[in-house]
């Protein structure tokens, strides 16, 4: 009887314990949100100052409606987890906004009112059940004046950027005015004349995309002032700009305007511009004067080549034998070439850059220039002359390629407070420089800014051709509708860049902080070293091979010069031919051996690491125990 009582007591105790366990966890789950220690290097789980500023500066009340179909969470645990994160983030946002941001949660079940509203707000449903029911996971933010914006679907791939996306959405709903982009271009990027008219130039696809998000204002290439309304100035292939215009851009930047520049040492499309702009090869770029004051310089007369990023193009000089060949100066950039931490390129997968230039980051400018796009390590600066013309000698380019083992900068972001490039005052009035109307141009009136009042926000890209349709987009007509199918993300890149540049400072500071790519640098180094070693040897062997081939050809030619000449082929010549042939085989074998060598170092590193990690400590422990055991035995015996 006593035992039974004890057992019952014990069971009751256990039940109570289990109940406490559940209660404690339920309590902590709902109440202890946000109490966490963020150990990640990039502080991925801590809200940035940018978000705080945006939330604190909210003037009007906003309502955030978060839609999440429970069924989606049931089908995909990852979405369920992501939803938890988004919801907690928004709850935190709501706290930080001081009540100005209200959060509402909805589960849009199939055929419910909530689903109808989700669809009406433009949310994207994904099929989750066999019967085709849709699952939703999106956000709609509505202002008191019925302005709204949405994230149609929270894509798992953008999880690292979720804070940026949320903050930007709230920011745009709270500040609905479209930003103005000033376009200063020497290329006919925005089209000229009406469609269908003689001599009319079609607007490039890139401008269609930009106009979707921005007010575009064209700035003449001889402007002496950038209008005040311009938030971001987009400069495309600034060639032959006068000092007066350069000065205008300089002052615009010092005033705190942001700038996106596409400079190019070799614009393939130059011919399509107005004839007066077709200046001879770019041995001089006036724009470098500005770039230098920002701590950058475009290397003139050189384009960047990259073996790994080379685009494979078809070579049609012989139509009977279509061939593909790597164009080492037409680059297809991938994740490895982008600074994944930069929001501008954060979700870019692929960029095409035909004959991009090389930016040099100048030391001691006091500004902070960060590469955004770079080549890989197997890159080289190529003379512009070698890639110009209708059909450059691609095989020769490939043969003459000597990797320099460094990453060439193709685009860079500049932050900091630049000083003027016109230290000696405004550029002087020049009689020779007249604008189209014949009036002499003059620098804008007003005092000159010598130093930036606000931190500058600049992105310089060393390629202008990347904007042209043919390099990144195919426009198809589909039942009378124009459909643009991008081949590369050049368009997204430009719109992203304008977006980030023209956003508030707070928004710009909100860089995607998720660095997902952390490569084995040691392996890369080994590969690089082996490669340099291999290239030298390869070249030596190639030269040898070539000499042998020449000799062989010579000997054989002697034999072909007619029957009597054939008789002239002496037995010595015959043995020489045979010898040359066998030597060639030997050289080829050697070449292959060198190539194999390349991979051996890395393989042996892997094998070593495997051994150390799997067997290393167990062996040491076993050995230690053995020694201990022997020592003890000896002691016992003694």
């Amino acid at each position: 009887m006593k035992n039974l009582g004890r057992t019952q007591m014990a069971l009751a105790g256990l039940a109570l314990g289990a109940f406490t366990l559940l209660a404690v966890n339920l309590f902590s789950h709902t109440l202890l949100t946000g109490a966490r220690l963020d150990l990640t290097a990039d502080r991925l789980f801590t809200l940035s100052d940018g978000t705080r500023t945006v939330l604190k500066s909210l003037q009007e009340p906003l309502t955030a409606r978060l839609y999440f179909s429970k069924i989606l969470g049931e089908r995909s645990a990852r979405h369920g987890q992501y939803y938890g994160r988004v919801r907690e983030l928004l709850e935190r946002y709501s706290q930080l906004s001081g009540g100005r941001l209200k959060l509402e949660l909805y589960d849009p079940e199939p055929f419910s009112d909530a689903e109808d509203r989700a669809v009406a707000a433009g949310l994207q449903g994904v099929p989750v059940t066999e019967s085709g029911d849709s699952g939703y996971f999106g956000l709609v933010v509505v202002s008191s004046t019925d302005l709204e914006g949405s994230i149609p679907f929270f894509n798992l791939e953008r999880e690292n950027f979720v804070e940026y996306d949320l903050t930007k959405l709230i920011y745009t709903v709270a500040n609905p005015k479209k930003k103005t982009v000033g376009l200063l271009s020497t290329l006919p990027i925005d089209g000229k004349g009406a469609d269908g008219m003689m001599g009319a130039k079609r607007r490039w696809a890139i401008m269609d995309q930009i106009r979707e998000f921005f007010e575009v204002r064209e700035i003449p290439i001889d402007a002496n002032e950038i209008p005040k309304e311009v938030d971001t100035l987009m400069v495309v292939h600034p060639k032959g700009l006068s000092d007066i215009t350069l000065y205008a851009i300089d002052q615009f930047v010092l005033r705190g305007g942001s700038l996106l520049a596409f400079v190019d040492p070799n614009a393939e499309l130059e011919g399509s511009g107005p004839p007066e702009l077709q200046v001879m090869p770019n041995d001089k770029l006036e724009f470098n004067r500005l770039l230098e004051s920002w701590g950058l310089r475009l290397t003139l007369g050189k384009v960047a080549g990259d073996l790994e990023a080379a685009l494979r193009i078809s070579k049609d000089d012989d139509p009977r034998r279509p061939q593909t060949i790597d164009h080492v100066a037409w680059l297809g950039l991938g994740k490895a070439n982008l600074d994944a931490a930069d929001i501008v390129v954060g979700d870019i997968e692929k960029l095409h850059m035909p004959t991009p230039g090389i930016l040099e980051i100048l030391e001691g400018s006091g500004l902070q220039a960060t590469p955004v796009l770079t080549t890989g390590l197997r890159s080289m600066a190529i003379d512009t002359a070698k890639v110009q013309g209708e059909s450059p000698d691609l095989p020769a380019l490939l043969r003459g390629f000597k990797p320099e083992g460094r990453k060439l900068v193709l685009a860079a972001r500049v932050a900091g407070s630049p000083k003027t490039a016109f230290k000696d005052g405004k550029p002087a009035y020049k009689e020779s420089e007249r604008d189209k109307a014949g009036k002499p141009t003059q620098a804008a009136a007003g005092p000159q800014l010598m130093e930036a009042a606000k931190p500058a926000n600049l992105l310089v890209v060393a390629d202008a051709d990347m904007l042209f349709d043919a390099f990144w987009v195919q426009t198809r007509t589909f039942f009378g509708q124009k459909v643009q199918v991008p081949l590369a993300d050049n368009g997204a890149f430009v719109v992203n860049a304008l977006d980030v540049l023209s956003g508030s400072d707070a928004l710009v500071g909100l860089r995607a902080r998720g660095r997902t790519d952390r490569p084995f640098t040691l392996v890369d180094d080994i590969r690089k070293q082996a490669e340099t070693h291999f290239r030298a040897k390869e070249e030596e062997l190639q030269a040898k091979l070539k000499a042998l081939q020449d000799r062989l050809a010579q000997l054989q030619k002697k034999g072909k010069d007619g029957p009597e000449a054939a008789a002239m082929v002496t037995p010595e010549d015959k043995t020489a031919i045979a010898q040359s042939r066998s030597e060639m085989v030997a050289v080829r074998q050697e070449l292959r051996a060198v190539q194999r060598e390349l991979r051996r170092d890395i393989e042996s590193l892997e094998a070593r690491l495997k051994f150390i990690n799997i067997a290393g400590l167990p062996l040491l422990l076993g050995l230690g125990t053995l020694v201990l055991w022997i020592v003890r035995r000896r002691r016992k015996e003694a």
Binding site: N3, R6, T7, A10, G13, L14, G17, A18, T20, L21, L22, V24, N25, L26, S28, H29, L32, T33, A35, R36, L37, D38, L39, T40, A41, D42, L44, F45, E74, R75, S76, A77, Q81, R515, D517, R518, P519, F520, T521, L522, V523, E606, L609, K610, I612, N613, I614, A615, G616, L617, P618, L621, G622, T625
Partner: protein, 244 residues
């Protein structure tokens, strides 16, 4: 508290008096080393992180920790040394805690001996070491939770093999409970609240959340409260059996 330390020391010493400890550590190290390389594609992926390494820990613990825990009480009962232990002037709670801490420290040593992996990844590239620290902590906490379950189930039986099998099963359930496979089974008939509760008890969910590099107080509360509950259950079991 002193009694706890005494018990823990006695227990730890007993681990090393047999080759069991060595065998356990060697198997653990060999497997934690081999899995990321051969199954996780650690080298082929070329990424300087330990995701692949820590990802296997729950599954390794599933087999190894019950093996470590099975002898905690079952052996004492089988050999009768439990009578001796209970005659000592210490409380059941102290004995339970002492034994658990010894086993946990032992698991900690085994885990710490995987340090070559950490060095490896730092030599190869530039990993986020904050994430690695968090992951180690998460792994250690999870090992503690597994051990606490094992300790309780070892206290209910004399047979170590049974203790092992039951503990492994229980740990398996706790690991799996966050998985869709399991939850869908419950969803068909159980109320949502129950399903949520089951999901929230999953070791795997809490562990993966920590291995992202952020130590959420809720994950901490979960592991600590789980350990506390199972140790309490151990004490109850030991008490009950004592009187039988």
């Amino acid at each position: 508290m002193r009694n706890v330390a005494v018990i823990a020391k006695r227990e730890l010493r007993s681990y090393f008096s047999t080759p069991l400890a060595l065998v356990f550590i060697v198997i653990f190290l060999a497997l934690t080393g081999a899995f990321p390389f051969y199954l996780g594609g650690f080298f082929a992926k070329g990424q300087a992180n330990l995701e692949g390494f820590f990802g296997f820990h729950p599954w390794l613990y599933l087999l190894l920790v019950p093996a470590l825990a099975m002898r905690l009480w079952a052996e004492e009962r089988k050999t009768g040394t439990i009578e001796l232990l209970m005659t000592l002037p210490i409380s059941t709670a102290e004995a339970v805690l002492g034994k658990f801490l010894a086993a946990w420290a032992f698991a900690g040593v085994a885990l710490a001996l995987t340090f070559p992996m950490w060095i490896t990844v730092n030599v190869l590239g530039d990993p986020d070491n904050g994430v690695v620290v968090a992951s180690y902590l998460g792994s250690f906490l999870m090992a503690g939770a597994f051990l606490a379950i094992g300790s309780c189930l070892s206290a209910v039986t004399k047979n170590q093999v049974i203790a092992f099998i039951v503990a492994a099963t229980a740990c398996f359930l706790f690991t799996m409970s966050g998985m869709e496979l399991v939850l869908n089974f419950f969803r068909a008939w159980a109320p949502d609240a129950l399903v949520e509760t089951i999901a929230s008890l999953s070791f795997l969910t809490h562990f993966t959340s920590v291995t992202k590099g952020v130590i959420d107080i809720r994950d901490l509360v979960f592991f600590v409260s789980t350990i506390a509950f199972w140790l309490f259950a151990t004490a109850v079991a030991v008490e009950l059996k004592k009187s039988v």
